[in-house]
Every structure is written in structure tokens, then in C-alpha cells.
């Protein structure tokens, strides 16, 4: 989608937090990303290296925690795993699914010094 601007958003959060959390260098960034967050992880890694240049996250390692996509199936009343937005229920084949997890796009934690 727009991985470059997402990376710039990440840098901005990291810079804002640097003051309150009192750090000057970031060694590792852990992100949690769901399969429905509209983010290509490879593209994000590529952009991250480019965007972090000359920032406090230069050379930082990007760790992506891939969350599973989950939805509540209204037909069979249970949580099922989904990979895409329009996946059918793996149990009954229905499309009456409510997504309960998988849209996450957040910075989980940092290793800093």
C-alpha cells in the first residue's frame, strides 16, 4: 500500500518516544502486523532501511511479528483462521465472517540504548 509513509510514521513515533523514554539509539524494532493490515512485509523492510538512514534508528534491525488473521463465523459460531479479507470459513464455507484479529499495524517494543 504505502509502506514508505508507514515507515516514516514509525520513525516519527520512535523520535517522539526518544525524549520521553530517554534513548538515543535504536537497535531493534518489533512490529506486530496482521495479514489484513494492507502491508507487504518485504516492501516494508526495504523501505525501513531507506527511511532509517541518518536517524536514531539507522542500522536498526526490523523484526516483524506476523499475527494470524482470525474471524468469528456467524454460521458455525466459532473463531476460525483467515488469511485474506474474503476467505470463507474453513469449517462451513460461509462468508459471514467478522474479522476479530489481523488488522494490527503497531510498534510493539524496541531495543534501545
Amino acid at each position: 500500500m504505502h509502506e514508505m509513509s508507514v515507515c516514516e510514521g514509525i520513525i516519527q513515533v520512535l523520535e517522539d518516544q526518544a525524549i520521553s523514554q530517554n534513548y538515543t539509539k535504536i537497535k531493534t524494532v518489533w512490529l506486530e502486523i496482521g495479514p489484513l493490515a494492507m502491508i507487504e512485509n518485504d516492501s516494508l523492510r526495504f523501505c525501513f532501511d531507506a527511511v532509517t538512514r541518518n536517524t536514531l534508528a539507522e542500522g536498526a534491525q526490523l523484526e516483524i511479528i506476523e499475527l494470524a488473521g482470525q474471524a468469528w463465523c456467524l454460521q458455525c459460531a466459532q473463531t476460525v483462521e483467515i488469511k485474506k479479507r474474503y476467505d470463507a470459513c474453513t469449517a462451513c464455507g460461509s462468508y459471514q465472517l467478522q474479522v476479530t484479529q489481523g488488522e494490527e499495524l503497531r510498534i510493539k517494543e524496541l531495543e534501545v540504548e
Binding site: M1, H2, S5, L31, R85, E111, E113
Partner: protein, 330 residues
Amino acid sequence: MCTVCGCSEGEVSIEGHHQGHGSTHTHGSHSHSHEHGHGHSHNGNHSHSHTGTYSSDTGHDTGLEETESVIVAEGDNLHFGHGPAHAHAPGLSQTRMVQIEQDILGKNDRYAAQNRQRFDAMSLFTLNLVSSPGSGKTTLLTASIEQLKTRCPVAVIEGDQQTANDADRIRETGVQAVQVNTGKGCHLDAHMVGHAMAHFEDISGGLLFIENVGNLVCPAAFDLGEAHKVAILSVTEGEDKPLKYPDMFYAADLMLLNKVDLLPYLDFDVEQCIAAARQVNPDIEVIQISARSGEGMSEWQGWIEQRRVARIRKRIDQLTGQIHQLEAMV
């Protein structure tokens, strides 16, 4: 965040007023107080033994074996704890863990929440129109406005990469319009919409259309504070588009299947298209419409009017409740 795709900053202009970032804080280091104060004091500065591999050595003990080598002297300033910490266990350093738990698009969401409050207070019914370029958004919008403007105030925020052509087309109908040029960006964000709102005279109780940049991908992720996203898909585009761009059709509450007057000349399968949309979003409503032939226009207006009036009623109830509360205190 810089919500403009891959952009260098400061590209946004609202009708020629360039939104330089330093002062108008389109991006980056602005001074909105609401942006701050979420500094997570609850997780300030602690390290996390639960990770196992990192230990807390920002505060270290004062064992005798500490050497002076860890004190960095800069003139009269002594810095303790710079450089590798003098930990007893080899291999440990200053490194610590900071929990952030912050949504990367959280900033846009906060602006969107502000917009939504503002729309609620104004009883303004706001629709975010999204589609690919060339789906007939602006033509449909001008035709809708011609009929809707007799009932209530109508205003339009036009998002395009460049030019004020669309806003000019809207203004010809006699309603207020503000053009937001996103520069290099591919979508409107909530902050741009907040700025554009300042350009309208009173439109309380009315309708606000936000015509997003023609793009079926990015605008799906950006809440602008609207009541509903409305996806416009024209029958010249192909019936499998909801499957090709599922996020947008998932985010939308209504799909307008546009240019249906052209159906006799095309192989477009309406049923298959609607089935594709419902596969992505079982709750999506569909109206088949054509600005040219007028088909579906009254249904579309009925859809809008019902919700606009419901919104005003809800606001009246809220205010009446408040008045009763206050009266009870006199």
C-alpha cells in the same frame, strides 16, 4: 505521521495555500497538544525481564570491581553509564527494552476522532466517496447535489493530486467546495479534512461529501471521521474489482454501481459483481445508478436523506436530554 505516500513533506495544498509543515503541521513536528501526552508513563523506562535475553542494567550496582573506564569525561562533564555498561556478566550492555504498543496509523485515527466529534456537534452527515479514477464520482456528485441542495446545506471536499478542476465543477452547482491537493500523496487523511473544514461557512444539519483521491487501495486505511465510506464502481471496470481490491469494499458500507445506462453495450455481469462485493463484505448495500439516465438517483438520495435526518434526530435527543438535565438543576 506523514500519511502521504512516500512523500517528501510539505506537498499538501488546500486551494493553493501551501501547507508548509513547520507551521501548519501537516506533518511532523507540530505543536498540537492533543498529539502529545500519550507518552505512556505506564511503561516508562523499564526493561523487561520477560524477554529473557535482556537485563536491566541502566541502574547498576556499585561493586568494587567497577573501573573508571566506564566514566566518559567531556571537559567538566562526567557521563556515567555511557558506553557499554560495566556489567558483571560479560556481554551485557546498556541495551534495554521499551514497550511502545502504539498503532502506526494512530495519529490519523486521533484526527479522525476529532473530525467525527465536530461532525456530530454540527449534525453534519459526512460521506467519504472512494473509487478508482474515472468511475464517474464527480459527475454523480454534481447530479446528486442538484437535487439535494434544495433540502439542506451541502458542501464538498475534493481530493485530487493536482488541479482545482473538480472543485470548480462542484461550485458551478452553487454549493461550497474546497479543493485539497495531496501533492505526491495518494489519499486524503483526517488532518487535511480538519483543515478543509475551516473553509466552510455554517453547514450544520447538512451534508458533507468528501470526494477522495481516485484510488482503491490507500484510502481504505484512512478514517476521515466520516459516517460511511461509499465505494463507487462503474460497470466499465470489471465485475471482479471487489475481489481485486477487497480492503476498500470491506471498508465501505454502500457500493454505488455506476453508469448502469451503459449495461446494454457491455458484457458486465451485475449479479456476479454484487456477489463479489458481498463475498468481501456481506453487509454491503448496493444501489445501481446512473447520473445520465437518472436510474437509482432517487434510491441513493433516499439512502442519504434517511441517514441525515436520523443523525439530526439523534442530536436533538441528545440536546433535549442535556436541557432536561440542566433544567433539573435550576
